[in-house]
């Protein structure tokens, strides 16, 4: 089969997307690659082909520590968010009436109405040493627990950021699970809980993996939670980028970190999507 060439009409339709992507993604990306080779002298950037920036960043232990920390946080956030989201998404998709489903989907969109930064600030009120949670626990003589400026605090922020989106993506993928599969599994002696694990999860795999991927991407690049709930020290990659740019106009080195992050996300996304669409058997 020969694929017909795209028509003029379809080209015109895709033009806005094309222009947008070239102007605000491709061009800045190329620019980012370019400036990662520039040189900074006397707080001035000059075009160059200087591999020193790459050498400087990639040979530093602090970069790799931050890289590992960021990757771990993003992985933990993706796993935690998926695990917390799934029972809710399952209940919405399988157990509720169409009307209740619509309402809950609406409710899940509400958090997006408020700025993430505002929500994170309000979380500080909950998590701080004399905050709402510790005050509540104190009534039972427990605590206080250190939650603000910890990894736990960072994860609370990241999960809060990702949860609504992950639930929505999971609900949409679970809605497409063939209901006959569930009954067929029951009929083949598979109990309720086991059906969820053995049939529903594999059936919705593409959507579940993509939901987790979104959580990973959002958390990996997140700057707000690690700074305001995690304390910012030791830094994640995003915090490191701001630190580098602040100290001596080192935009080229920041570009190296950013490119490493983009490379990581592309690899993870490619791996996740390949895994999601992998078919069993020959």
């Amino acid at each position: 089969m020969t694929r017909s060439r795209p028509s003029l009409f379809s080209l015109v339709l895709s033009l806005p997307l094309l222009i947008w992507q070239v102007a605000f993604f491709l061009f800045p990306l190329i620019f980012l690659v370019a400036i990662s080779f520039w040189t900074v002298r006397n707080f001035q950037m000059t075009p160059d082909l200087n591999f020193g920036n790459w050498d400087r960043i990639l040979t530093r232990g602090t970069f790799w520590d931050a890289y590992a920390r960021t990757a771990m946080l993003a992985t933990a956030s993706a796993a935690l968010t998926s695990a917390i989201a799934f029972p809710a998404a399952y209940a919405i998709s399988f157990k509720l009436s169409e009307r209740a489903k619509q309402w809950l989907v609406f409710v899940l969109i509400i958090p997006f109405f408020t700025s993430y930064l505002v929500r994170v600030y309000s979380l500080q009120v909950f998590l701080s040493d004399a905050g709402i949670i510790n005050a509540f626990l104190d009534m039972f003589g427990i605590g206080p627990f250190l939650m603000l400026n910890t990894t736990f605090g960072t994860l609370v922020g990241m999960v809060t950021l990702c949860l609504p989106l992950v639930i929505l993506l999971q609900v949409f993928s679970l809605n497409f699970v063939n209901r006959d599969f569930v009954e067929a599994a029951h009929n083949l002696r598979c109990g309720r809980l086991r059906t969820v694990l053995a049939v529903i999860v594999p059936s919705a795999r593409v959507g579940l993996v993509i939901a987790a991927l979104f959580a990973f991407i959002l958390s990996f690049g997140d700057f707000v939670s690690p700074l305001y709930l995690g304390g910012g020290n030791p830094p994640t990659l995003s915090i490191m980028i701001t630190d580098i740019t602040k100290s001596g106009q080192q935009w080229p080195r920041a570009a190296v970190v950013a490119l490493m992050m983009i490379g990581t996300l592309l690899t993870v996304a490619f791996g996740a999507i390949t895994y999601a669409y992998k078919e069993r058997g020959k």
């Binding site: 009929n187 594999p202 020959k282």
Partner: protein, 366 residues
């Protein structure tokens, strides 16, 4: 056929009712299914046939009445605790598992060890002649091959009963006939009970020992295909089968089995063997099957009904001629093409229809 003796029933439905909210899907159904019997439940969509099957499978629970399975009352027993595998209309094969893993599935759920599981699954794949596709993905199989996987998956636990919900409806005509043969011989070889839900008369009549015809949640008739075909119980069944002409009238003369029935088309002699007792003046509905109708050119000195040709349908070696009487009723005649060459069959041409009195069947349920 003696397969439906009371003592050897594997399934017994006793006054079974199923309501969904205010809608009654199944309304007081009673019947038994014999061990080793091939029973077809037939009816148009919404007649309650699939709901009946689902209640046997334990996917729906009856609102009223009892279901007995192999001597045990199974009301409220979950499908995963029953041994009633079902083949779905959509087949419901798991696309995230290979062919062999699909067949192994229920064995795995029962905790059968891996070695035995694989051996049993492969044995069934072999029986269904699809062993070579064991490691394939479901999406790479043809319709017929998928059908065989679904059967292997349902039968791998060697159940006493298999439930089938319109499993062949997605296949083309040619493959359908082949799969019917596969199902028939499979059922005979295994000697297990098949309960087969379908809206297709040809499927039900070609495979089943007995057929249950349902309409609006009720059973209209139960019997062997021959019984139902030759002696439909009521107007619904006769119309559903679609192969007969139905006449209604009043009994005006009676001498033993020889009745005379007055209809809008005139008076007709009816041989009422096996007919219910009727007295003069009672309403009588009788059928004459399309192939027992005779057709002759208009004006010939034969008694019968004058009717205009409306159209013709080609059915293999025969044709069905549709005609309309002067009073507007539609009649049909099924004859070989050779027999039809003797009459003028153009739309609009008028013909004479008649039949022998012993070709008439009085509907006992009317």
């Amino acid at each position: 056929m003696t397969m439906h003796m009371n003592t050897d029933a594997i399934v017994k439905l006793d006054g079974v009712v199923k309501q969904f909210g205010t809608f009654t899907a199944v309304e007081r159904v009673d019947f038994e299914i014999g061990r080793g019997e091939f029973l077809a439940i037939m009816g148009s969509s919404g007649c309650g046939k699939t709901t009946t099957l689902r209640m046997l499978a334990g996917l729906d629970d009856p609102t009223e009445g009892d279901i007995w399975l192999d001597g045990e009352r199974v009301n409220g027993k979950a499908t995963w605790d029953r041994d009633t595998p079902m083949v779905w209309q959509s087949l419901a094969l798991f696309p995230f598992l290979t062919v062999q893993e699909n067949v192994e599935f229920s064995l795995k759920m029962r905790g059968v060890g891996k070695t035995e599981r694989i051996a049993r699954a492969r044995n069934w794949l072999d029986k269904m002649q699809i062993l070579e596709f064991a490691d394939r993905n479901i999406s790479q199989l043809s319709g017929g091959q998928r059908q065989r996987v679904a059967l292997a998956r349902a039968l791998v636990t060697e159940p006493k009963i298999l439930l089938l919900d319109e499993p062949l409806s997605a296949l083309d005509a040619h493959l359908k006939v082949r799969m019917q043969a596969v199902l028939s011989s499979l059922q005979k070889d295994l000697g297990i009970t098949f309960v087969y839900v379908t809206h297709s008369m040809s499927e039900a009549f070609s495979m089943a020992d007995r057929v249950v015809i349902m309409s609006r949640g009720k059973i209209e008739q139960i019997g062997s295909p021959q019984e139902i075909y030759h002696a439909p119980r009521n107007r619904f069944v006769a119309e559903f089968l679609g192969s007969s002409n139905i006449f209604t009238g009043r009994l005006v003369e009676k001498s033993g089995d020889d009745w005379l029935v007055e209809t809008v088309h005139g008076r007709f002699a009816v041989t009422a063997s096996n007919a219910p007792a009727k007295s003069l003046g009672d309403a009588v509905t009788f059928t004459v099957s399309a192939e027992n109708m005779h057709i002759s050119p208009e004006g010939a000195h034969t008694p019968g009904i004058r009717a205009k040709v409306v159209g013709e349908e080609f059915v293999g070696a025969t044709a069905i001629v549709f005609l309309e009487t002067e009073t507007g009723e539609e009649l049909k005649v099924q004859k070989s093409h050779v027999e039809l060459t003797s009459v003028n069959l153009h739309p609009g041409s008028t013909l004479n229809l008649h039949w022998e009195s012993h070709s008439c069947h009085v509907l006992p349920g009317e």
